[in-house]
Symmetry: C2
Subunit: 337 residues, 2 copies
DNA sequence: ATGAAAGCGCTAACAG
DNA sequence: CTGTTAGCGCTTTCAT
């Protein structure tokens, strides 16, 4: 077994308290000479304090939980990275749990997180059902719901400025001179996609353009569904000259659909989409994309959680919707097959 | 504070041992009627055992560490997902650490993982420098190095069958009738890219085609570098008719370069690449791609680690190179810009 | 400036 | 079948 504090104690011929004071730099002072002896012993023994014992004694774990539907989605992967980084900076570890969009697993996480005595949790729900994070917070574990909240809830939540993203995307298309702009929506609306839709609608209204329900169609999560949604838009008496999609897979679907119809993008049609899932911006220069600033989201989420853990009232500006960028790509020619 | 075992004890009017036996289903039997009383008390109190105390007592943590260069890379994100899933199934939690390719951070992780008393670690090194994982394993923490090992090392390592991937890719191109096949390599070779290169060479030799050093050029990690590498290949007296790249970013770079030169892919030229970084297969149907089976890799890695933790000799077949697939995409027309 | 000792919440050996 | 008790390795109060 690894060396314990007692080994250090004996080797340096000091008491338990002294070792502790040296390691933790307090709360009481230690004579320089004694400190040197202790440090020496620690080094010789290759001693590392046992965090489990320390956690038990201090009744703290310095750990937060992070619940996420699926790492494989680059959107979430980026979020994980940002949160992990921010948490580490503040001296917290992260226990990672992924639900794979399974509410049953989510329910199990509640017990797990309680048992582990995590100090707080950032939870990206699998669906709009917030029962599990809610249960957790009822057990007095500070919990922040991230981004995909259902519209009505009394839970504390971080939200990206999806509304502004939708607005920016639509403004961009309007400025290019488009009057008929189609929107491909999420199959089942969550708050974030509703925000995007609302931004779209408001930008249109602001320009004095009426929102036509015929120009808003439901998409899905597969390329093919994006293509079909685009075809549906084309069935309009007067088809759109531009399309805005709630994510990048749909946008690529539109690109494919346009190609098959012989419509050239971006010369004859403009496409803008949120670049959430497959980093389409990287491979499809024809696309203009909207990016959420996951780094900022993550940092703010952790900041917010820390405040809750400390029992402080959450600062209002932390909860404000944040971080959205429109990236207009230079058209660099079609990617050949 | 949360209820403790003592609260349960009092409420159910039983001893500490009995509560423990009920919770853990042993090691001694409990009378059904007593058990019911305990369960009742647990429920009423909303009691969840404290894992910290349990871990201290049992001198176990049921936790493994996972060190990874960067989640944002979908390759790693998939690996994380697979490992997390496999570990959870076996009752382990995962502490996630990402180095962001920083060896200094990696060195810090050694202390952290020791302090946390993780039972084992799966480590994907940032560079070919294995000092940190090695140090860790010298401290008697079972450590498995994942995929990107330097060629000579005495550390236990999981490896994907990169060699076979390189071989498959090249065979595929040979079977399409190509004789002059270029290879764009990693800027600095690691074992996995060396394996890919060797597979390429052997496939050529097997077909009686000489390996030309002029057809092997160094790439980078950016599209532009892929394009430049392709241009370099084209400077050959007799340019290649097909290109194999060590990752998908390079492959896309080649597609761009070909497009700018007016070469149509795949009609006039074939491109095959490992689909590691940006899921190019999703957006570039012109590409034929090689996929590592990260799910299998992850599962085997965890399996191997569990054996080490139990002190068993690692089963040979767990360490065998695994999981590589060639995916030949149906050409579905160029993706419009 | 340092030592002694209590106790965090749990498991499991020991003793009925 | 159940109760009592000794720690696991640490932090920190109370002494000195």
């Amino acid at each position: 077994m690894a060396a314990t504090r007692e080994d250090v104690e004996r080797r340096a011929k000091v008491s338990a308290a002294t070792v502790s004071y040296v390691i933790n730099g307090g709360p009481r002072p230690v004579a320089p000479e004694t400190r040197a002896r202790v440090l020496e012993a620690i080094k010789e023994l290759g001693y590392q304090p046992n965090a489990v014992a320390r956690n038990l004694r201090m009744k703290r774990t310095f750990t937060i939980g992070l619940v996420i539907p699926d790492f494989r989605n680059p959107y979430f992967a980026e979020v994980v990275g940002a949160i992990e980084e921010a948490a580490t900076e503040k001296g917290y570890k992260v226990i990672l749990l992924h639900s794979r969009y399974d509410p049953v697993k989510e329910a199990q996480f509640v017990d797990l997180l309680r048992t582990e005595r995590v100090e707080g949790v950032i939870w990206i729900p699998a669906t709009s059902n917030l029962d599990s994070p809610k249960t957790l917070s009822e057990y007095a574990i500070p919990t922040v719901v991230y981004d995909r909240i259902s519209t009505q809830t009394d839970m504390l939540a971080m939200v990206a400025d999806n509304y502004n993203g939708g607005y920016l995307a639509t403004r961009h298309l309007l400025e290019l001179g488009h009057k008929r702009i189609g929107y491909i929506s999420r199959p089942v609306e969550l708050s974030h996609s509703q925000g995007r839709l609302q931004g779209y609608k408001d930008a249109l209204k602001e320009s004095g353009i009426e929102v036509e329900t015929g120009l808003i169609v439901k998409g899905g999560f597969e390329l093919e569904e994006g293509k079909q949604a685009f075809y549906k838009l084309c069935e309009q008496a007067e088809p759109p000259t531009a399309v805005f999609t709630f994510n990048d897979i749909m946008a690529i679907g539109v690109l494919r659909g346009a190609w098959e119809k012989g419509i050239r993008v971006p010369e004859e049609m403009s496409v803008v989409g949120f670049d959430d899932i497959v980093q389409a911006a990287y491979t499809c220069p024809a696309l203009t994309t909207i990016h959420l600033d996951k780094g900022e989201m993550g940092r703010r989420g952790v900041e917010l959680l820390m405040q809750l853990i400390k029992g402080e009232a959450p600062a209002a500006e932390l909860m404000k919707a944040v971080g959205v960028h429109l990236v207009v790509r230079e058209s660099s020619g079609p990617v050949p097959r």
